[in-house]
């Protein structure tokens, strides 16, 4: 007889093994109370509502900021993509962000590699010195930079924006590359040397690929930081050169221009996509 016998469950078969662990056991004796879930949901709504509300606003027909939006149209988007002021601002922001992120990535990665060669007290000192832009309030930086840049004729120039934003963003690159280097095993370099790779080749074929995710993360952070930066941008602006956040700021404070709703939802969606893709790529790579 060749028929496959149906699997029989022995009468005394042990119960299927459940996923054990603290959580499983807690699930029974120590459940998450309902009030805690409620509190969590309320806070979660508080966290996301202000961001999400800009999306329905962007389809409004009204010329005010009143919610709920009236009607359903794309005229705000049309305005965003046809009005020179918005388009110039968008273009300026993109140019500044790309250049600043590029500069910050190169400089920050180099600094992380350089710091990796230092040890002890000196390294700690240099590291915290390079981190000061993260700790200093933007308004303090912005006012100081404004006054000095006035004297150096850098306000309202592409150079001024790029320099300031790159300086602001390079510590972020430094941090993310440093954390990539922390998991980097130095014996890989010995291995590649023993296999005939010169230090430079070892750097290109081993170090760079292994820290590339840290560099990429740093570059994305730097781009978003610059693209989104508003305080310094407000001080460095000139009538001829302003970035998208400045234009958005003006549209609330000066113009009462609801196009900001379209601009906001475009940015929210784009940046969220960038982060989600980065997050998913990271999760997939780790598996």
């Amino acid at each position: 007889m060749t028929a496959v016998a149906p699997p029989r469950e022995p009468a005394d078969a042990p119960a299927p093994v459940r996923r054990r662990g603290l959580r499983g056991r807690r699930g029974r004796t120590d459940p998450v109370p309902v009030w805690l879930w409620v509190a969590g949901v309320v806070v979660a709504v508080y966290l996301v509502l202000p961001t999400l509300i800009v999306i329905p606003m962007s389809f409004s027909e009204a010329t005010t900021f009143v919610f709920p939006p009236k009607g359903n149209s794309l005229w705000l988007y049309r305005n965003f993509f046809t009005n020179d002021r918005w388009l110039d601002a968008l273009r300026n922001s993109l140019i500044v962000a790309v250049l600043a992120a590029g500069l910050a990535t190169v400089v920050g990665t180099a600094a992380a590699l350089g710091l990796d060669q230092l040890r002890g007290r000196v390294a700690r000192l240099v590291r915290s010195a390079l981190m000061f832009p993260i700790l200093t309030p933007s308004i303090v930086i912005a006012t100081a930079v404004y006054i000095s840049f006035l004297r150096w004729h850098l306000t309202g120039t592409l150079t001024g924006y790029v320099l300031a934003h790159a300086a602001l963003a390079s510590p972020l690159v430094l941090v993310s590359v440093t954390s990539a280097l922390a998991t980097f095993d130095a014996t890989y370099l010995r291995a590649s040397a023993s296999l005939g790779a010169s230090p430079w080749r070892a750097f290109v074929t081993v170090t760079l690929p292994l820290i590339s995710r840290g560099v990429a993360t740093g570059a994305v952070l730097a781009f978003v930081t610059s693209f989104d930066e508003v305080v310094i941008a407000l001080f460095l602006r000139s009538p001829k050169f302003q970035t998208l956040p400045v234009q958005m700021y003006n549209s609330v404070v000066v113009d009462i221009d609801p196009t900001i709703a379209a601009s906001s939802s475009l940015i929210v969606v784009t940046v969220s996509l960038i982060f989600l893709v980065a997050l998913l790529a990271g999760a997939r790579k780790r598996r």
Partner: protein
């Protein structure tokens, strides 16, 4: 094995930090230094002879001009309220994060990081829409007979918006501190006869105080430097110290006074951050990676 690091860079490999040092020093360090220098020297009008003398006059003025102290007090009060709100909202949230499974936790992390990665202007605009007279929040409050509460252009509205942006800085240090507490201690306390709330108060809360302190100091510090949110949602008559600083710089052109005020704010900030680092090691737990994200939000 004796570990001496392999040299894979040219011998003075540390020279690679020079470009970063130049960029940061030239673009940010130099202006900050000049700002400080101006704050401790007398003003010599352009084109007039004479050299600047050392003086503390600008700092004395901060405390005697009648405006600065009032603004500082107002800023401190606003920041304190923001801090308390963030703690009240952040504690249960962080606690929930320690209690759920990995999947739910990553959703909670993504949500708490939302204020980090959404554009500052977009979010402030969102708050503006929510808080507008006749907006969503006001109508919601109307359900409870509080329909006439004004939010837009008030300190309450500003507090609400700032707390949201700063919530991650409360939640993340709290989470790392709460995550390290063995919850069986709570069960043990209950088995020894303490009612749940007493067990929480006597066992859990004391163990979480490091994270609480770190989060509170951090949120307070960051709240003190906020510029955009008060400018967009608050009232010009109730400006905070950041706006005062901006105003001195661009409208009054009182560069020396701005330098003095900026130096004061910077010193207070650095002292508070160092303190937060001591109590909770918080900058490390936050990971400056997204710490920078709020820069633009301030």
């Amino acid at each position: 094995m004796t570990t001496s690091r392999p040299r894979w860079l040219p011998r003075p490999g540390w020279l690679l930090i020079v470009p970063a040092a130049l960029l940061l020093g030239g673009t940010l360090g130099m202006p900050l230094w000049q700002s400080f220098w101006r704050s401790v020297h007398t003003v010599v009008p352009v084109g007039e002879p004479g050299t600047a003398q050392l003086t503390l006059e600008h700092y004395r003025a901060l405390f005697t001009d009648g405006v600065t102290l009032r603004v500082l007090a107002r800023t401190g009060k606003a920041a304190a309220i923001v801090t308390v709100v963030a703690l009240l909202l952040g504690y249960p949230y962080a606690y929930l994060m320690t209690r759920v499974g990995a999947r739910a936790r990553s959703v909670l992390v993504v949500l708490v990081l939302m204020p980090f990665w959404t554009s500052a202007l977009a979010r402030n605009f969102g708050w503006l829409v929510l808080l507008y007279d006749g907006g969503l929040v006001q109508r919601f409050l109307g359900l409870f007979g509080l329909g006439d509460v004004v939010l837009y252009g008030t300190a309450t509205g500003v507090t609400l918006a700032m707390s949201q942006v700063l919530l991650p800085y409360m939640v993340l240090p709290l989470y790392s501190s709460l995550g390290g507490i063995d919850r069986r201690l709570l069960l043990a306390a209950r088995s020894l006869g303490s009612p749940p709330l007493v067990a929480f108060w006597k066992v859990y809360w004391p163990l979480s105080r490091g994270g609480v302190a770190a989060g509170m100091i951090l949120v307070f510090t960051l709240a003190c430097g906020f510029y955009v949110t008060p400018a967009l949602i608050g009232s010009p008559r109730e400006s905070l110290v950041a706006q005062l600083l901006g105003q001195r710089t661009t409208q009054l052109l009182d560069f020396a006074g701005a330098g003095a005020l900026g130096t004061l704010v910077l010193v207070v900030t650095l002292v508070l951050v160092a303190w937060a680092n001591r109590v909770g090691g918080s900058m490390a737990t936050i990971g400056a990676g997204f710490a920078g994200q709020t820069r633009s939000a301030r």
